[in-house]
């Protein structure tokens, strides 16, 4: 009996693998690739899982599901390094050992854990410039993406601390000057840049920054107020191109906001199918401009689609602003439960997808799942649109 059971398992696994491979060919999409890669991971076939995810990301570079899987696989790949870094902290504790662990978490994209590793390091080595710089870089990277005031304020505090510990550290001083400029605190930036130029008078980057800071209108407001202004406008006070580190961060963050060539017919079909399979009352997708891109409603329980779309927009817009002020970050989703059933609103890049369930059966879980599948298959994996050519700019006077 036992032998039969043992033999049956690999047969079932092989059959499932075959079916998943077939699904990848017959109904290609990130969900199919994800299912296959998950299966490989369950069977400890890490190389095959990695291959499937890498191949999937080539075809669907914006798929969040595949990115998460890639991160999981990366963490498995780096398991030995994580073990080594943790052992190093126990056996030979030093600021560098903590910084190395933080760097590993950063490499797999886990910023919270990287910050935790730095915090643990700083608890033991309160005068480590490298750890303060690491915290500042992590916070700045996140600020450039989400514009959360808290990240900017903490980044500044860490950079200022690092400069106070070693005034001659070029990397720290220049980043502090750049970040002061980024939030519009030009007066503070000038002070730092002048100090840098005393020790490195030929530094062209510092000279350029100083020229720019001197041209900028000086503001006397406290740094917190300047940060709040930048956060509200979601734009740095100066052109990020002149700031080396921030330019890198903002460039990295620009990618997800790409315009997409979405197939509206496919989207409408997928939404109607999702509504049918969840017995929902209505579902709607709004494009980044807030217009209805696709909608589906049950005939026996009519719902005003325009009003539903307006409700979804209102939930996202009104709560997003306050969530940012509270340092919770950008709105991702909202789920409301009431005597009517459930109302779900999900933000995917700049699109919105919303659904409302009947009172019974509510099928909230199923609707959530189907909404995310529609978003993945119709929005996140749609090809990016060609960038529009910039309007012709007047040439500066070239002289005779």
């Amino acid at each position: 009996m036992l032998d039969n059971a043992k033999r049956e398992k690999p047969v079932k696994t092989r059959k499932l693998e075959k079916a998943l491979l077939k699904a990848c060919k017959s109904a290609p999409g990130p969900s199919a690739v994800e299912a296959l890669a998950e299966h490989y991971l369950r069977c400890y076939k890490f190389d095959k899982a990695r291959e499937a995810v890498e191949d999937g990301l080539l075809r669907y570079p914006e798929s969040q599901k595949l990115r998460l899987l890639e991160r999981r696989i990366k963490r498995t790949d780096l398991y030995g390094d994580f073990l080594k870094a943790n052992n190093e902290i126990t056996a030979n504790p030093s600021p560098d050992a903590h910084a190395n662990l933080a760097a590993l978490y950063r490499a797999v994209g886990d910023i919270d854990k990287a910050l935790d590793a730095c915090a643990r390091g700083l608890a033991a080595y309160a005068d480590s410039v490298r750890l303060y710089l690491n915290v500042a870089e992590l916070r700045i990277r996140r600020f450039a993406k989400n514009f959360m005031p808290k990240d900017a304020v903490i980044a500044l505090a860490n950079l200022e601390k690092a400069v106070s510990l070693n005034e001659n550290d070029y990397a720290v001083s220049i980043l502090l000057a750049e970040f002061y400029l980024a939030i519009g605190a030009s007066e503070a930036a000038i002070g730092i840049l002048k100090k840098i130029l005393v020790t490195s008078p030929a530094d062209e980057h510092a000279q350029k920054l100083l020229e720019n800071a001197l041209e900028t209108t000086h503001k006397d407001e406290p740094v917190e107020d300047l940060v709040r202004e930048v956060s509200a406008a979601r734009r740095l006070a100066v052109n990020p191109e002149m700031l080396k580190y921030l330019e890198k961060c903002t460039r990295e963050n620009e990618r997800p906001a790409a315009e997409r060539n979405v197939d509206l017919e496919q989207m409408k079909g997928a939404l109607a199918e999702a509504l049918r399979s969840t017995d929902g009352r209505a579902m709607v997708i709004l494009d980044p401009k807030g217009a209805i891109a696709a909608a589906a409603a049950r005939e026996d329980a009519p719902l005003d689609i325009d009003a539903f779309a307006a409700a979804a927009r209102e939930i996202r817009d009104n709560t997003n602003d306050y969530a940012l002020r509270m340092d919770l970050g950008n709105f991702e989703n909202g789920e409301i439960e009431g005597p009517f059933g459930h109302l779900l609103v999900y933000s995917v890049e700049r699109w919105l997808i919303a659904g409302i369930t009947p009172e019974t059966p509510s099928n909230r879980e199923r609707m959530r799942k189907r909404m995310l599948e529609v978003a993945e298959d119709c929005i996140l994996t749609a090809p990016a649109a060609e960038p529009q050519p910039a309007p012709e700019q007047a040439q500066p006077e070239q002289g005779a």
């Binding site: 009003a307 306050y322 002020r325 509270m326 340092d327 919770l328 991702e332 909202g334 789920e335 005597p339």
Partner: protein
């Protein structure tokens, strides 16, 4: 009320909680480090009003639970009759399990409110 909020805050992943009326008046609050009462109350009031207004647009009224998920945290609102229980949580927790704890706190708050009103 504060004791109930304090007990709720012991649950893993909960950073703070408060009771706020529909018009934004804070009845009781027990917030953890880094959470400003004014900011949480403002977000909660905005979320309550938005949810009620949005629901009225689709012909519905009232909600029992509103879970708002943002990039780095969650805000959960549970109707406690006299006010709304507002809970700030980590982004990564299992929200369904935590909601059970919140509902238990709401039952206690309702009970205490009834006793106070009788007195």
């Amino acid at each position: 009320m504060r004791e109930t909020l304090n007990n709720l805050n012991q649950v893993v992943g909960i950073n703070g909680s408060m009771l706020v009326t529909r018009d934004g008046m804070v009845v009781a609050s027990e917030l953890g480090k880094g959470l400003e009462e004014e900011a949480v109350a403002a977000l909660a009031t905005s979320a309550i009003r938005t949810a009620l207004h949005a629901l009225s647009k689709v012909g519905e009224e009232g909600f029992s639970l509103f879970v708002l998920t943002a990039a780095f945290g969650r805000l959960v609102l549970v109707d406690a009759e006299i006010a709304y229980l507002v809970v700030v949580t980590e982004r990564t927790i299992n929200i369904d399990a935590t909601i059970l704890e919140m509902q238990s706190a709401v039952r206690q708050i309702r009970k205490k409110a009834r006793i106070t009103l009788k007195d």
